[in-house]
Symmetry: C2
Subunit: 482 residues, 2 copies
């Protein structure tokens, strides 16, 4: 009975234990029933004390939210797999489509009962909280992945292409606003904010989707791939800076816009030349030298810095997303810190949070808002202008910089992917009230079409291995050692 | 200019580039101003289309939420560090205290402006969403860490102690309810649900806190430590099963309670004998053999299973937490899957989500509700009964099972830690409306006191190395090979 290796009791003792266990249970039950008989005559004070509780309904809401998350995560994985395997698209496009499918545009039209069961109106605010936290974390990751080396490769192509691919769609978008504004905007938004927003949102390139397409084709290290990555990085930084200004202007309604611009400049300079060296000196260097995995304190510190930077950008009148992005961008990209941070949060963000964002976007996208043929005409016009501006601008600029036709066209196609970055921008515009739900729906459609067309067009143009050809006539396209 | 290693352009070309860049910017600005002058005369349709947007206020809400999260994460880390370093307490106690400090009980009383700035009422629903998701994920992790071997070591102590440490506080708590119910409950809750809940919530042991205390003292592998872990594991499973029934009864208001019991039994049996083998066969085995890190698909699959299990438990009338816990418990604990899952989500849950849960708990805890000396008398009574039941019950049972006095007392102290598990149970009771905010506040106080007293009492009783003594007269306390 006391042999150190004997982990069970002998049989007789076990029976005795079971018997006493049963007796104990019976006694407990008996005693409780007696207590209950005494208590049932008691009266509780009738009025409830000042209630801080959320009341009875709340657990039902939790079940709703969990059900919605389960449906979202499942469908996102399924469609992501289908798009990857059968349509040879990056899975993220399937995830975006999954969000739209669960929304009023597809499930709500085809099977309203299922839509009301899985994603009722009441779940939208909770989903919004999750998707906003998720997008803030995601933008931090995008900043963390932004390779500063990509911003430094000054060649004709990497200067000309990103700027042309912002300026041309921006001007075309602003011009297009002349026709959209009087038809689909509302009077609470001025033309300036509206046209700036439309212009900038046509200039967005989805760096993550573009990188994913190149990775799928093992083309990051080819000249064309490296040029595309560099152009997209420059494009991203420029377009988001421009967007920050637009948000500042839209929020301040022109009156305080100059102040916002000054604050933004001050903030960026402060982050680069004060916070970055401080972080480097007091945090990063210690973390890089430390042994063992990332500590909770370090992770918490980065979270707090990320949240503080996001709050700071909100306080000066631009969106929290910029603060999250910039903090990611100023953290050092070499060494273990960045990769460990990514390892800790990337998977949870990509698997659990981002699909919620797509579903939240899907909930706000309603194809039903496009009723007349005029609506569809404008929707097509937006798609056409977006392609003309981004694809056309990039193609012409690359050609002028000395690249061959085929590679110039491929670069244009890649720059034309807008993917989830566009969705983030559009949600921001909708939140701010700069664009109406109808314009939002049209622009979501445009984002999907321009992203979706990239892979098949690249296949047509280059074949699966076309990236590996030496570029023709691209004497100036020299980027990186790869 | 076209040397493959030359990444920058020659100086003349660079000047030309800069000049054309400036010209391009000027031209863009000019063209945009012309577009704008055309657009400013336009009138937008006055009425906004059917609005799906959240309106202007929403970005302000996001800033509020991010600010609250920053304050919560920061204070939780700070107090966690203070409690660990200066009070020799597990950091989680400091994090719990941080949540209370940010709530109306401390900051709200001492500096209401700061409280209103950092954690206004409007942020509570968003914080609730984050904290609920966080607790569901946390319970999954608790299940994932539950070592089934701990449940199998049948010795006198590991049978007698956990059951005594549930039965005694349960009966004492139910008896105490005879006095609390007529004073602090409200009429919408029957005595049965109330007394069952009070009884069960006094029976909770915080397995994570207990494990943490033992780890801090390097005592998990000692006999006393192993016995305590085994007792806490059995206690946890039993108390949570009991709690599931109580929730079922409270929700069904006795009428459908028998159905709930039947459903729960069916659910548990189904998870153990249908889902577990299926998972083992079609998912786990493949994952264990796979090379490389955990894939997104596997992570998404586990998330979906976790959410589905949580929704299933909600559907049968018990709380989502049980479903999350049980899914964690039935996943295999050996091999890489469990440790990789923990590696992916544990840090984010512990660093970002749990402090939000503590802050949410703190927001609902209001010391101001305890006004009269009678309130404080009852608060003290609850603490006394909780200690008498849990510490007393465990001590007597361990002594009867043959352990020495000192080690029996140490075991009693360890079983008496309630920590964050108690907070989870209490929030559940408040959500269901079983307990009032006043009782909630009293019970939170009790949870803190009983958890806080463990470390100093253990130091007094055993010294820092007392665990390593060979147990005296503990011939039957044989647990595990350690």
């Amino acid at each position: 009975m006391n042999a150190p290796t004997d982990r069970s009791l002998p049989a007789t003792s076990r029976w005795r234990t079971l018997a006493s266990y049963a007796a104990m249970l019976a006694a407990t039950g008996g005693i409780y029933l007696w207590i209950r008989s005494r208590g049932e005559q008691l009266r509780a004070p009738v009025a409830a004390p000042a209630t801080l509780s959320d009341g009875h309904g709340h657990t039902g809401e939790l079940a709703q939210l969990l059900l919605a998350l389960a449906a979202i995560t499942l469908l996102a994985r399924l469609l992501g797999g289908v798009f990857r395997r059968y349509l040879r698209q990056p899975p993220v496009i399937g995830e975006i489509v999954a969000g739209l499918v669960l929304g009023p545009s597809v499930l709500g039209l085809l099977w309203p009962q299922a839509h009301a069961f899985l994603l009722p109106e009441s779940v939208a605010p909770s989903l919004g909280v999750i998707s906003k936290i998720g997008v803030v974390l995601f933008m931090f990751l995008v900043g963390l992945e932004l390779d500063p080396k990509l911003l430094r490769g000054n060649t004709h192509s990497t200067i000309a292409v990103p700027h042309a691919s912002i300026v041309v769609p921006f001007l075309l978008g602003a011009t297009l606003a002349l026709w959209i504004y009087p038809r689909y905007s509302n009077a609470s938004v001025g033309f300036t904010a509206f046209s700036l927003f439309i212009g900038v949102s046509l200039s967005i390139t989805a760096f993550p989707v573009l990188a994913r397409i190149l990775r799928d084709r093992r083309a990051q290290k080819t000249r064309l791939g490296a040029t595309a990555l560099a152009c997209a990085a420059v494009d991203d930084v420029s377009a988001w800076t421009l967007l920050a200004l637009v948000v500042g202007i839209a929020t301040a309604k022109m009156s305080g816009a100059m102040w916002t611009v000054a604050y933004v400049a001050l903030y960026v300079v402060g982050m680069l030349f004060v916070i970055r060296p401080l972080l480097q000196r007091f945090f990063v260097r210690r973390e890089q030298q430390r042994e063992g995995p990332l500590t909770h304190s370090a992770l918490a510190f980065v979270f707090v810095a990320l949240l503080a930077s996001a709050v700071a950008t909100e306080a000066i009148g631009i969106h929290a997303l910029f603060g999250a992005f910039l903090l990611g961008a100023i953290l050092p990209h070499e060494g273990r810190l960045a990769s460990e941070l990514r390892g800790k949060i990337e998977d949870v963000v990509l698997v659990l949070f981002l699909p919620s964002f797509f579903a939240f976007t899907g909930l706000r996208t309603s194809i039903g808002l496009l009723e007349s043929s005029r609506d569809w005409l404008f929707c097509g016009l937006i798609v056409a202008v977006a392609i003309a501006g981004k694809f056309g601008g990039s193609l012409v600029a690359a050609r002028l910089a000395g690249m061959g036709w085929r590679h110039s066209a491929a670069l244009g196609i890649l720059m034309n992917t807008r993917g989830l970055m566009e969705l983030i921008v559009l949600n921001l515009g909708l939140d701010l009230g700069v664009i109406s739900p109808t314009v939002f729906t049209m622009m979501v459609f445009m984002a999907l079409v321009t992203t979706f067309m990239a892979s098949p067009l690249l296949d047509l143009l280059l074949g699966r291995r076309g990236f590996e050809d030496p570029p023709t006539g691209a004497s100036a396209v020299v980027v990186g050692p790869g």
